[in-house]
């Protein structure tokens, strides 16, 4: 499923499947199994910016956890640079939706958290001053110079998310995994951070997988948008995004290309919502089971229907 024109994949997902055990409840004393992800195969090229959208509960966070090595898949495997992922590693860093800053550490200490115990180019551990220098550098990169000594509770939501991004970048991973990082922010701050993220992506050449539930955000940021189906999550379609020249001062979001791509992704997602309703998925029970689930009987007729 490699997009044409990309070199050897940085990340390959091979037939990823994940199930969860649903705890027994009063109504359902035996408990049950819930398929969160089913047979996901996807390849991401080095330096690519891939966005991932899907209905709530479609398994986006689960997929990101698997990529990060925080969760093991039940089926399939994840390869990074051809090597199987068995746990968290220095080549991948995660930015969480809820910032996940360490509240007892200042902004600078949060950024240098991942550097403690890390080795520099010469193979020796980074000294305290080297770490502080790095922290300052990355805080500056995300536009937070001068906020080094602030504690997280002294920062705004947007600032916290910048610190979280700086922390992931300071770790110097090849791959940045981001789980709805801008969802909790107001529209202005979000757009500002989106542009900063794109700038950082261009200047550092990282491979980024970015989860969002915002269609605009997915289309604006991604070179490709991966659309997941509603639960159980499968890869429904990959949409290539080409918005043309990004360097101009024009408002990309109101351009024809943007509107067209946006509509395409919107249709794919909307279809999922409709399908879920038709299949009775609107009646998903609190334990996660949908009794009249008819997934395998439903033909996949979605390709080419959109736009």
């Amino acid at each position: 499923m490699t997009a044409p024109g990309y070199p050897a994949p940085k990340i390959s997902l091979r037939h990823i499947g994940k199930e969860f055990t649903v705890r027994p409840t009063k109504e359902n004393p035996q408990g049950s199994r819930l398929t969160a992800l089913q047979d996901i195969s996807l390849e991401v090229a080095a330096g690519e910016f891939l966005t991932l959208v899907g209905p709530s509960g479609s398994g986006k966070t689960t997929l990101l956890d698997i990529l990060a090595g925080l969760t093991k898949p039940d089926n399939g495997q994840v390869l990074v640079d051809g090597k199987e992922v068995t746990g968290p590693g220095r080549d991948r860093a995660v930015v969480f939706q809820q910032y996940a800053l360490f509240p007892w550490r200042t902004a600078a200490a949060n950024v240098s958290f991942g550097l403690e115990g890390a080795t520099g180019l010469d193979g020796r551990k980074l000294s305290r001053s080297q770490r502080a220098e790095k922290a300052r550098e990355y805080l500056q990169l995300v536009g937070l110079a001068g906020f080094e000594e602030r504690f997280p509770h002294e920062l705004s939501g947007g600032m916290k998310q910048r610190v979280a991004i700086a922390r992931s970048l300071a770790y110097e991973p090849d791959i940045l995994l981001m789980d709805e990082p801008f969802a909790a922010l107001d529209a202005q701050t979000r757009e500002q951070l989106q542009d900063e993220l794109l700038r950082i992506w261009r200047s550092t050449g990282k491979t980024i997988i970015f989860i969002t539930h915002g269609i605009d955000e997915a289309v604006y940021l991604g070179q490709r948008v991966a659309v997941l189906s509603s639960r159980p999550g499968r890869l429904k379609q990959l949409v290539d995004i080409d918005l043309g020249d990004r360097d101009g001062d024009v408002d990309l979001r109101s351009g024809a290309a943007f509107v067209e791509h946006r509509h395409r992704v919107w249709s794919l997602l909307h279809e999922e919502v409709l399908r879920a309703q038709e299949a009775g998925h609107a009646k998903i029970q609190p334990d996660g089971s949908a009794p009249d689930e008819t997934w395998d009987a439903t033909p996949q007729t979605t390709h080419g229907k959109a736009a």
Binding site: D65, A68, G69, L70, P88, G89, R90, R92, A93, V94, F96, Q98, A100, F102, P103, W104, R105, F113, G114, E116, G117, F151, P152, H153, R167, Y171
Partner: protein, 301 residues
């Protein structure tokens, strides 16, 4: 450790003036009930008998009531005026006795307290982290934590004698549970997202404990440590009253038995000051380590 001896020449000390003043000032009972309510009479009746004081002697003097003490030939106050107490304190200090007793008490409580804090924090982290350990230890811990430390004092004395070890142990026991329970609570209430974040940054289990779980539980742990500080002093004083040759508890009880009432109050005053000081220090340390917490309450409004 050198055993300090209290001067037995009680009657030779010049505090008859104070007695007069005591009666003078305290004619109306209302003017002096507070300090006297501090006086405790643990097992005094038995002691009084053993000392041959005669069983018809009015022993447990109720609040603010004057009492006669035979052998001194005059009225003795159970509530000497403050300057008498301060004088006694001064002379105890100048003779070096107070320092010796204070040092004895501090050594014991500090050792017991340290042992308790270290073991309780380590065990608390493990119990909170490993569910199986929790299931195994929980019934045991429930029984012990609901057994008042002082109730076990005779057991400690029986098992470990009346020496230093039994005193340090009972202090450690009393300080152990507040720290343990607060450590467990501190870890249990921590944000699991932070653990995921730390893991995603490649931390090992040990580093996770050291850099994430422990610091995030520190404010809660310190609440426990502060509670433990108070209770360890309390328990130690009680233990020293029962069987010891030095220490503030011994000073208090021994002064009382020797009718050096101002000395007794000097001891009590020292205990109060020590308690205040310890609490103040622990609060300061707690505040230092909890700086990062969002201020709640009137200050944040």
């Amino acid at each position: 450790m050198a055993t300090p001896t209290l001067t037995k020449t009680a009657s030779s000390r010049s505090w008859k003036v104070g007695v007069g003043e005591f009666f003078g000032n305290c004619r109306g009972v209302t003017s002096c009930p507070t300090l006297s309510s501090l006086v405790q009479y643990p097992a005094r009746k038995g002691r009084a008998r053993r000392l041959g004081l005669g069983s018809n002697h009015p022993v447990p003097a109720p609040v603010g009531v004057r009492t006669r003490v035979p052998g001194t030939g005059g009225h003795q106050g159970i509530l000497p005026p403050l300057h008498e107490v301060l004088n006694a304190l001064g002379s105890l200090i100048s003779k070096g006795q107070l320092q010796t007793h204070l040092a004895a008490s501090l050594t014991r409580s500090a050792s017991g307290f340290e042992i308790a804090v270290v073991t309780a924090v380590v065990l608390g982290l493990l119990v909170a982290w490993y569910r199986s350990l929790d299931r195994f230890l929980n019934p045991l811990l429930e029984v012990f934590r609901n057994t008042a430390a002082l109730a076990l004092l005779p057991v400690f004395t029986l098992l470990l004698g009346i020496g230093e070890i039994s005193k340090i142990s009972i202090v450690a026991y009393a300080a152990f549970f507040p720290v343990l329970l607060n450590t467990i609570a501190g870890v249990r209430t921590m944000d699991p997202l932070l653990i995921r974040a730390a893991r995603s940054l490649g931390l090992s289990n040990f580093r996770l404990f050291q850099k994430v779980i422990l610091p995030s539980a520190v404010p809660t742990i310190f609440t426990g440590i502060r509670m433990a500080g108070t209770s360890s002093i309390l328990v130690l004083i009680a233990a020293e009253m029962v069987g010891a040759k030095a220490g503030l508890g011994y000073l208090i009880v021994n002064s009382q038995m020797s009718f050096l009432i101002p000395d007794m109050y000097a001891g009590i005053l020292t205990v109060s000051l020590l308690g205040l000081l310890v609490n103040y220090l622990l609060v300061a340390v707690e505040r230092h380590f909890s700086r990062w917490r969002t201020a709640v309450g009137s200050q944040s409004l």
